[in-house]
Symmetry: D2
Subunit: 374 residues, 4 copies
């Protein structure tokens, strides 16, 4: 009831931050997909901690092992399970905190939800570490989408109050998208990027943290994906995006800003581009009535500042029901935004692939039909 | 695949704006609920058009008829179907537009999605009119929640660039909530409300439209509702909210603004209030790790300006594949925000009731056990 | 949670035997399907009561009204809702029985399940009358399948201990299937059919009832429909078939009899028929590993004797918690088997169409692409 | 779309017979359940091959490893993943057969379904070996049900044409049920059991195989579990049972035999037993209208003879599209029935626990509330 998502392509994640392993089951993947393990590793390394001063020094290798659904280099069409063993766990960091509810974390809600039987170490199943199997599954989905030329890219739109430019969602420069996909700190304006990094370091030095906004674009989509009402593309993308820990807002196209436009400004006029119908602007972010228009999908995701901070805060000792103070030591990111980028892209890729499979059926996206080498 | 929503309580809507009838099936409603038909009618009249200068003069009576699941004044526990016959349809208003794609509407995406077999009259199934059965179902859900003292209220946070105050989500004044629930134009500051109404009339006079933001609060929730990841409360509420036509953004608690706070500011500290655990602030909007904390849930929803405007716009004649211009006459709201308020509350009530049923099972929320009058 | 079925094509039924109306919502039907209303009426008349001495004299006209999802003679692709108003209800027949649990019926379980708030008149939502909207939906599904030459036919395999021949599921005579589909009492051997009818009349004369077995065949299926394990064709068909009131057993191919064969007899050998792979026998009923082989699907369904009988039986008065006796007067079928045939075919057609849509996507089964007459 | 089952308790299986590992994810298990690892091992050993002359000499140890959802000896409430590594695989046994479709197996349908990219070794994902993780999950479910005194037991009703007695489903002797649960070859009449074993050995000696029928009983159920129509107990049990490889028929209560009774014989009369309502007979197998009556659920499952036999059979070489002959060597069970018993019980336990959770909510079945030893 909690950790499964999707209609035709079902994603199921499991595991706890300090348990034996975390993992994912992908059910409904078309058969015959030649997995690009290097690409999966690259995607996972984008999410990986310990790479820079901006992120936690916890050094998980995040090496994955595919247990099923993969044969002779290709997907079999039956459930693909991949796991990542937990190695560099320092559970003792959490032992002294185990009764103290970390503000901004799910310690309290997990305790209540599971009648105190939740694994409290490192947030247990609520840990951001669970985005690792999501990124793995998303890498597979991205790879399939790429065979249809559907590309996903993101940049950091803001860190704290420092803002990058916005995507031009009517004239796409695919070169820019490629550059963003290969960057650890993707921004459109590099000078802004440097200011952002300084802002993160300042927060770190003060044992505090900052958040930011991620802007994502999906290009070369066919029109007609999605459904009216409850299976609309915005509904399904938002559902998936809000499942990423720390996300507190999602908006499409102009988003909240569209409320400050008049109808005559907000409407995207239809024009002909050869025999294709396009819109001259894209304030609706490529979606009308829950269904893709064929224009790029654009959305923004608000990521809150990392709740784990060294600054002292008030809290409650849940076992002794006493007020207390807490300063989270452990190893934490002063800003989770850069590592959230691949997670945002991953769930988006999974939603789009699911919609494609619903539209085209199982065969449409299967691997090619060359005879395998039996 | 499109018009069904919910886990334990399933809501299914059907109908087209100018078809015979629109309606809803509610499957999974507990038995024995004494329906308050007056309350349902009041909720529906909040959504109803034709009441004021701010909304379309189309006068639908929106009288509903319960076809099933209702016996001797109470829910039976089996599917409740209610329908609303369409009466005041002027389909000819749409006949001259039928080949012209209305900018900002789903005419184009519906045409592509359904291979041109969509009912184009008045937007067909994509019409905002489909929120009427949602409001009906939501009224039933609100009624059940009220038996647990769970209340939902909203105000218009902004129209165009005119802003109301925000809810205080730590100290709730239930009197204010009651006042808002009985208002046709709910605002916290009435002088701001008057400015908003003038702004709407100005847009109307210029044959244009405006949008705005709705802020909603849900109080007296138990802690522990929801799930980590894909069935988180934010995921499920956002999913439902984005299914309402014209919604382009959803944010919880501080929302996008939380990205401008530091962790030490954004975290809600835990405190004891007698033997209860609360948070001293509520920047996270009552949800941590996808699960309710017991603090009020607060969220905001961005509603775009009504796409149907009298101002002339460029478009495409989809049958002749020629560029054209369009000015939508018909009868339209210069601002849909006030009528969207009950729809926002309705889907929220349905999601919360569904979560309650998952948590407590079927019996927990059933009607009382007095012997019915056989 | 109870009355919705299907993955890509969702069927939702609602209503009570003596309520205002019963109906069905079909969500996920491809667009552009030209509905054959005569065919739907013919299918419904196969299920209709009051036609012969073998069935209840209750004369429901079962006229349906399509409320949505249907425009200019074709499906729109959005939810199709159809309702059937209840007319010839004699609720007073049930008033004197309302506290007496009818043996073999759901009176007791419905009372417990819904905390005594169930509509007890005529079985309420549990009534066999709810198969009318199923037959309606099934007629639409059959019509779509026919465009792919997929045909469904049935015969009455047995009534009480009188048995008809079995289908030859390797060499199909489509002429026989057509004859069966147009018969009110479909049997392969007409002399056996006459004996069956006499057996039903004998039971009727003694105020008792009999049951029987229905054998169904589905021909011209493509191989490759279905899934391993939980979405296997047998699982999904059996799920749907057991939802028909009075069904107590389902078996595929040789069914229970296969347990009396050795492996060397039960296995269906593969042979080449031109460039096609077939099996020389069909003991597995066209399904291996949950997936269609391309051979006809064959299954049998056990229908219990109608529980409503005039013979006096022991029971309990649920309101006064006293033992009592009951003799059900009302108007009842001495044998429900002939009227169950179209229900069995209907749910089968819905399952097969759902599987086709999952395999081929939304476009594959849409109506043709001629320009509608705008 | 294929390998996930359940509403509130979702079971997802993955893996291939000769891949790295097979496993299961259980999502929705209540928290605080003290797992009895010995009991799980005992259940798994009931399914395990290599124990006797009646089963394949393949010696899988079937040691499982719980990766998640398990902390300090109890379930956490978050997804429980357990895997079983594949060890004793002799894939070369399959190499020479890889192009030859084994009659009665899913080799052909898996090839078509997955565009020839299926893992063909040992049946891949279609292998009966996938029932091992099901038995594991079922052992957990049985353990939870036992805390409510709900017990599941089975006996081998027949092997080939040798039949055991039937359960008396109105007067339960729980001692008999305990004896059956601890037997490797559970029968009510031991002399019949010996004849059955001889029949299996005879088939083995002739390189052939036999099938049989399993009869299962579930006792001490509360009345009111289940739903009318599509979520009926029969529908959900049958769905799960038909997902077990080799199952070709399922019947409840009197099953197919009920068609040979008259209504006056088939109806179960209601009687009072103190303040409880019971039925004096149980021809309906404890289910009326899809909902439990509180009487034991009784059903029978037909298991076909093992398709892998040493006898030579006709088949097709799928790669060269030529007719051929095949004699399956490998290591196979001459009769799968005894090893199918725990699988039948496992899926039944999972369905019943799911229904209990839907009825009682998450708290009802959670472990006790003692403070864990933090």
């Amino acid at each position: 009831m909690s950790s499964i998502f999707g209609n035709k392509l079902k994603v199921s994640i499991f595991g706890e931050s300090h348990g034996k392993a975390i993992g994912v089951v992908l059910d409904g993947l078309p058969s015959g997909i030649e997995l690009d393990l290097d690409f999966i590793n690259r995607e996972m390394s984008r999410r990986q901690p310990g790479k820079s001063v901006f992120s936690t020094p916890r050094k998980e290798k995040d090496e994955f092992e595919i247990l099923s659904g993969y044969f002779q280099g290709r997907s079999t069409g039956t459930p693909l399970c991949a796991i990542i063993f937990n190695r560099d766990c320092k559970s003792q960091d959490y032992d002294e905190l185990k009764n103290l509810l970390r503000p901004g974390h799910a310690d309290y809600t997990g305790f209540i939800k599971y009648n105190k039987f939740n694994d409290y170490r490192g947030g247990g199943h609520f840990s951001g570490r669970l985005t690792a199997p999501l990124v793995l599954a998303g890498a597979v989905a991205k790879h399939v989408l790429k065979s249809r030329n559907i590309l996903i890219a993101s940049h950091i739109k803001s860190i704290h109050d420092i803002c990058d430019e916005s995507f031009d969602s009517t004239n796409i420069d695919e070169g820019v998208l490629t550059k963003l996909r290969n960057s650890d700190f993707p921004v459109l304006d590099n000078r802004v990027g440097q200011k952002m990094q300084k802002r993160i370091l300042d927060a770190k030095n003060e044992m505090d943290s900052v958040g930011g906004i991620i802007e994502t674009i999906i290009v070369n989509l066919p029109p007609g994906l999605g459904f009216p009402f409850f299976d609309g593309v915005e509904s399904r993308l938002a559902h998936a995006l809000f499942s990423i820990p720390a996300v507190k807002g999602v908006e499409f196209g102009e988003g909240f800003n569209i409320t400050k436009l008049r109808g005559s400004q907000a409407n995207d006029e239809f024009v002909l581009d050869g025999d294709k119908i396009k819109t001259s602007t894209n304030h609706n972010g490529g979606i009308l009535g829950g269904i893709t228009t064929g224009m790029p999908i654009v959305f923004r995701v608000a990521i809150k500042p990392t709740p784990s901070i060294g600054v002292s805060q008030k809290t409650v000792d849940i076992y002794n029901m006493q007020e207390a103070t807490i300063a989270v030591k452990g190893r934490h990111d002063p800003c989770i935004v850069p590592r959230a980028v691949p997670a945002v892209e991953a769930v988006s890729a999974l939603v789009i692939l699911d919609l494609m499979l619903e539209r085209e059926g199982e065969y449409g996206l299967s691997g090619n039909f060359e005879k395998p080498n039996r």
